[in-house]
Structure formats: C-alpha cells, structure tokens
C-alpha cells in the first residue's frame, strides 16, 4: 500500500497554477465546483474525467463552450464508472503512462443510478478514482430526493407538510457500502476541510486500482443558503457530527476526526432553507441517528 509519507504534499502554495475547470456555469458559490476544481488541480494535466448527467456536467459542457481544460466526457447517467473503466483500459492499451482517470458524479448518480456500474468497477479493481460530490439531492433536475438526502430535508419529491416532515429516511451508508467491496482505498471528505480533501485525492492518485472519495459539497441553490457560506456550511456539517471524515485502507476503517463535542445540530439545520420547517422532534430524530452512528464508529473505527 502507498505510504502517505512517500507522497509529495499538495497545498495552496505548491499546487499547479493551471485551472482545469474554468468559466463553468455553476451557480455562484457552488460547492460541487470547488470539489471538482481542487481535485483536478491535484490530479494534474494528464487526467481523463468522466461525468454522468448532473450539475457538474451540465455546467461544464455547454456546446460549444467547454469548461474542462483536460480531457473530459459526459457519460450515460448509470454508466460513468464503466465508461471510466473503459477509458482507463483504452489509455493503457495505447501504452499511455502516468495518467489518471477520474469520475465526478453526484449523490444521485452514485448512490442510486450509477451504483451498479460503480460496484462492478470496484469489483474488477479498474484503475479509476471515483469521486462522489454529495449535495444531498438530484439538484440539476430541480431538487429531488436521492438515497443520500438526509432526514427532514424538504425536496420537490418529499415536500414538508402535514403528512410528512420532508424526507423520512436517513442517508444511505455509502462509505461503508463501498468499503464492503474491500476496495484498496476509500475516504469521506468535505469541502469545509479542503486540505483534508486534497490530501485524500492526492493519496488516491497514487493508488493503482479502484479508489473512492465521498465529498460533501454544498449547494446554495438547492439548500437555501447564502452563496458566501458554502464552505462554512460544509464545515459546520462535520463539526455538528452529521458528516464524518474517515478512511478505509488495508481492510481497516480509520476515523480521521473525533471531536470531543459536537457543534449544534439545530444551528446547522436552521441556517438552511431546506430544513427550516423541522420541528424539535424532527431535529431530535437527526441527533439520535447521529449519536447511534458515532457510537458504532467510535467502537469499531478508532
């Protein structure tokens, strides 16, 4: 396994000045575009990107405008992992060396629609880094609930009203589902902790074979948050314990951040239009679910 110590560190000071995702039409303050931009800067010029339908492809490829500065392709919605696997195999067959293939897919495109192809990609151990930017709903089609939409979220398919308090399910355990494939490297991250995200992309870059990063990426438009708070809110989610930072490597889980005290869940929720309607009982339900998860993680992942 690649040792972190052997990998040259990448940070704001030494990263390439080239931009590989530039002039895109994402909403102002889009967190997904921070994730894509930073990952591409870490991966460098010799990168093939594959993006299924979703915001990042919709804002990146508007023919004849092209916001990607390295090779990039839009894939079928369910097939990004298989198309990326094909790209990696094709480049290898052409004798290309020193390149990386990456997928940027949304939460819907990963946890629901693209899941079968992703599972196959990991099973075959194709040389692809799969990055899921999680904005917690199908944003590009107007905010529908996905398997990663958290409890209480108001979406157009789970409206909050007298019958239901918005979304009535909790997020899928995507990271653990991926780890259960016994993947070489998987991690969770948040754009609220950008250096941690960069380190994880950098680590995955140096692993041969299938790797996976689940990055929490705010969406001011779909979440009802001011554009300037996109990074703050993604950090708040981690500090409130609703998003955790962890890695899976060599068959072991590792919890990267284990705060003694969590920040207020209620404050985090009330900052966002999508949670504004939530009652005290609903907030309690979110907290109880968080605590159950942390009890399990602390017992097994430390």
């Amino acid at each position: 396994m690649t040792k972190v110590l052997d990998i040259p560190k990448v940070n704001a000071k030494n990263m390439t000045e080239k931009e590989f995702f530039y002039g895109h039409k994402a909403c102002a303050g889009c967190g997904g575009s921070i994730a894509v931009r930073l990952a591409l800067k870490v991966l460098g010029e010799r990168t093939y990107s594959a993006l299924p339908a979703g915001c990042m492809s919709a804002v990146g490829f508007i023919y004849p405008q092209m916001a990607f500065n390295s090779n990039a392709i839009i894939t079928t919605f369910p097939g990004s992992a298989s198309m990326a696997a094909g790209i990696a195999a094709g480049a290898k067959a052409l004798g290309q060396k020193d390149f990386k293939t990456v997928v940027f897919a949304g939460d819907g495109g990963t946890a629901d629609i693209g899941f079968q192809a992703l599972s196959g990609m990991i099973d075959r151990n194709d040389d692809v880094l799969y990055i899921c930017y999680d904005n917690e709903a199908y944003m590009n089609t107007g905010i529908q609930k996905s398997g990663l939409t958290p409890y209480g979220t108001k979406t157009t398919t789970t409206p909050a009203g007298q019958n239901i308090p918005g979304t009535i399910t909790h997020k899928k355990n995507l990271f653990e589902i991926i780890a259960a494939h016994d993947i070489a490297y998987a991690a969770t991250a948040s754009i609220g902790y950008p250096q941690d995200f960069i380190n994880k992309v950098n680590k995955a870059k140096h692993v041969k074979g299938a790797t996976f990063i689940h990055v929490y990426a705010s969406c001011p438009t779909g979440w009802g948050t001011p554009t300037e708070t996109s990074v703050e809110i993604a950090k708040d989610a981690v500090d409130a314990g609703l998003i955790f930072l962890a890695e899976y490597e060599d068959g072991e889980y590792k919890l990267n951040r284990n705060p003694k005290e969590f920040k207020s869940v209620e404050e985090y929720l009330k900052k966002q239009g999508r949670f504004k309607h939530m009652s005290d009982a609903d907030i309690q339900c979110v907290i109880e679910n968080r605590d159950k998860k942390w009890e399990r993680m602390r017992k097994n992942w430390l």
């Binding site: 704001a12 000071k13 000045e17 080239k18 931009e19 590989f20 995702f21 530039y22 002039g23 895109h24 039409k25 994402a26 102002a28 303050g29 889009c30 967190g31 575009s33 921070i34 931009r37 930073l38 010029e45 508007i62 023919y63 004849p64 405008q65 092209m66 916001a67 990607f68 500065n69 754009i191 950008p194 001011p220 001011p226 554009t227 300037e228 708070t229 996109s230 990074v231 703050e232």
Partner: protein, 120 residues
C-alpha cells in the same frame, strides 16, 4: 489548446493576455465556426456560443475588492474560490473579473477580512 511551456514569472500587468491564459489555462475566446472536420470540434474552454454569455462577469451584483495592506497571502481565498478566478501574482492575489461571479466565498473565508464585497 494552450501548450504546456512555462511562462517567465512577471507581474500580470506585464503579462500579455496570452501569457496569463497560458499560465492558468484561462479561456481563450475564439469565434465558433460550424465544424467541418473532427479536428474543428471545440477542445478548449470557451467559444462564443450566442446563447449564453461566454464570460461570467455579468452574474455579479457585488464584486470582491482586495485590500493588499491587510492580505497576508495565506491563499485561503485562492484555494476556495469555486471558479478558480483568483490568481497568484508575485506574492499578491489578483482576481480575474471576467469570470468572478461575485459569490463572496473569498471575502467570507478570508482570515484577515482583507476582501470586501462592493456593489457594482
């Protein structure tokens, strides 16, 4: 497409537009012509499309203004700009106002409050 050769470090005021484009892969504005050969299909960033603005400056209501006396060049704004419009310029940051959308992330995240959002 831009080529990979290195650009001599000059301040951006001294750099020609082509050199800035090369340094940070900024979009090169090229007139769009209907492709007649596969080689004519767009592979670089921005063409004039006719249906969308090719520059994003028009999205802004507020623009970031940097106070260089307060800035400690920590590069947090550079790291977090969703649009990558903040450039390094010999120990100073400089913003590409053609593509900045005025989101305010840079100002909000600056540890020194060295960026102010000013109404355009």
């Amino acid at each position: 497409m831009v080529s990979g050769k290195l650009v001599k470090r000059l301040t951006n005021d001294q750099l020609t537009n082509d050199q800035i484009i090369e340094k940070m892969s900024r979009p090169k504005h090229t007139e769009y012509k209907t492709p007649t050969h596969i080689d004519d299909y767009p592979t670089g960033p921005q063409y004039e499309a006719g249906f969308l603005p090719e520059k994003n400056a028009g999205w802004r209501t507020f623009k970031p203004v940097v106070n260089h006396d307060e800035c400690i060049y920590c590069l947090r704004c550079y790291l977090l700009c969703p649009d990558g419009t903040i450039m390094k310029d010999n120990g100073k940051i400089k913003i590409d106002m053609d593509y900045c959308k005025g989101c305010g992330v840079c100002a909000h995240e600056c540890p020194k409050d060295a960026i102010e959002m000013v109404k355009e």
